[in-house]
């Protein structure tokens, strides 16, 4: 909760430390991107980004010392984003689980056939008529 009048002064030393950490993490994520990490590439990059965002929110934006309502607001917003992404993924990752729809698009199917035929994929031969 808030201290004296709710205006917590974040010490300069702490701000300096945080900017140091942020710069370090930026260099780290760039360095790691040059290394082949396979399936860990996305989670690693995202974790670093989340850590950085966490420092900015907590210290620079002083949410750590702020009214709990504001933290709740942020949490609810982030939750909504997660719902948004995950519920759409439930659709897109399982598209075509019954016979009512196919998993692949017609363009992809044709491209796959062409690849199997050993020809170069060609984007121009799928004609859609709408202007």
């Amino acid at each position: 909760m808030s201290q004296d009048h709710g205006h917590h002064i974040v010490p300069v030393k702490m701000l300096l430390a945080v900017i140091g950490i942020l710069v370090f993490l930026t260099i780290l994520t760039v360095a790691l991107a040059q290394v082949e990490l396979g399936i860990f590439e996305v989670p690693v990059a995202l974790s670093i980004a989340l850590t950085k965002a966490g420092f900015v929110v907590m210290i620079f934006m002083a949410l750590k010392w702020d009214n709990k309502v504001n933290a709740t607001i942020l949490a609810v917003g982030v939750l909504c984003v997660l719902i948004f992404i995950s519920f759409i993924l439930i659709d897109t990752e399982f598209r075509g689980d019954l016979s009512n729809t196919t998993e692949a698009t017609i363009m992809d199917e044709q491209r796959m056939e062409q690849t199997l035929d050993g020809r170069e994929p060609d984007r121009s031969d799928i004609s859609f008529n709408r202007q």
């Binding site: 729809t101 196919t102 859609f128 008529n129 709408r130």
Partner: protein
Amino acid sequence: MGDNGSVWLPDPGTTLAGEVDSLFWFVFWVSTVIFAMVVLAKVYFMVKYKRTSESDVPEPVEESKALEAIWIVVPTILVLIVFTWGFDVFVKLYSAPPDSYEINVRAQQWSWEFSYNEGATSYTELYVPVGRPVKLNMTSADVLHSFFVPAFRVKHDVIPNRYTSVWFQAEEAGEYTIHCTEYCGTQHSGMNATVVAVSEEDFAAWIAEQSQDLPPAILGQQVFAQCQACHSVDGSAGIGPTMQGLYGTERPLTDGSIVLADDDYLLESIINPMAKIAEGYQPIMPAGFSALSQKQLDGLVAYIKTLE
């Protein structure tokens, strides 16, 4: 219960439609009973507790936890039953049997094209054999459409660049209406067709007949079924110009020029409708007809020539 047509639901044309109906009636009657109870309670309270004196201030009522629990638990159980049941029928509706007879459906503004593996193509009528599961592989040439046969209780959106499908097994010979139920433009409400369910023998005969090579004008007449939503052949007004007596005449265009309605003009107007707009008409003809085969295009021109 739902075995025949009623005020609410049309005659079911498939066994699965009957299952959908049973579920419909279950929800319908449970809802009606609960609704009636709520309305009765409401009217009773309104009358019984009518204000008699302006200084009347009733005491609060102790709320009954048991009653509250009932209101939450009973509906929860009911909806879980309905959900499970609905899930079960839904999976059946959208899981075509592997031995289904497959027909390709291509939707475009504002007509349906049904093509059969044997080579036949039809436009306003979808012939299917009775007693055999039929799976429709559908895609759209332009915007979203939706394939709906009320009597079969099946519906699915038809999407460009992806195949979607519905399946059904007609139980009785007869004709059933097909509607487009996803808004697709001016003639959305004219984008109808008919399922014609016939016996296996009749179906085989029809396929054999349709798969032969037809004279161009006859083929053209069949293809023209797609055009009839907008273009008449008897001179009556429509969204687009009538085809009667069109061939060989001079046509005024919106840009003021005049063009002779010859073979080239007709072909161009089908393939690229925006090139020349006849005077008095909106430039709204879909471009999808450029996908017709050369044989079909020639047939159309031959057919239009016959309309004097």
